[in-house]
Symmetry: C2
Subunit: 127 residues, 2 copies
């Protein structure tokens, strides 16, 4: 029973983009990639598992920081080539910089301004 | 003054992924790509302009359907390689299938289920 995985239009590298949205606040927290194994594991475990392109391996979000993502729902778009996860963010921090969301820079008057607070020093997250 | 565009980590094809989120409902509506020109135009016009990879040209969202996206804010992620737009969706329909969001399929019991209603017949949108 993995027909649902076959329906996805994977890239030539066997990946699909994935967006993680906070189930409570509605904030978009991060964007990452998944391969077939990571999406299968995400559905099986109920926790977000991505594929790290830089490290070329599965990346169980929170494996180092403890900031795992509990998956509430998995959605697929009209073209079958983008995944949207609704998640509960353990610790309230998705970004490796210690912020709630990775999208903390806002375009203002012709430049990118850091508009979100750091909630926890990364040194205290990754020990 | 286009330093802000230089800060973006474009793909080898000169693109950056862009997520559009409804400023009012918080729903993630769609995912598309932008090139440098499309992002510059988005900021300038205050309306979402993407780059269509299949048609290989700029795509002013809503140019055919009238469902333009009024841009409320533009955010950038920690890695400088993903854009998040907060938008007001004219007509309340972002998807070419006539639904509010492109993410209308939900994973349920091992399969993708269409969980969102069609709000308007595409035949009546694209004439």
């Amino acid at each position: 029973m993995s027909d649902w995985l076959d329906e996805i239009k994977w890239t030539d590298e066997g990946l699909v983009p994935a967006i993680a949205q906070d189930a409570n606040s509605g904030r978009v927290l991060m964007f990452a990639w998944m391969n077939r194994d990571s999406l299968a594991l995400t559905a099986e475990k109920g926790e977000a598992v991505y594929y790290s392109r830089s490290r070329r391996k599965l990346w169980h979000k929170g494996e180092e920081s403890g900031h795992i993502q509990i998956v509430k729902s998995i959605r697929l778009d009209c073209d079958n080539d983008v995944i949207l996860l609704s998640i509960e963010q353990t610790g309230g921090i998705a970004c490796h910089t210690g912020r709630e969301s990775c999208f903390f820079k806002t375009f203002q008057d012709g430049q990118w301004v850091e508009t979100d607070q750091v909630l926890k020093d990364p040194k205290d997250i990754y020990e």
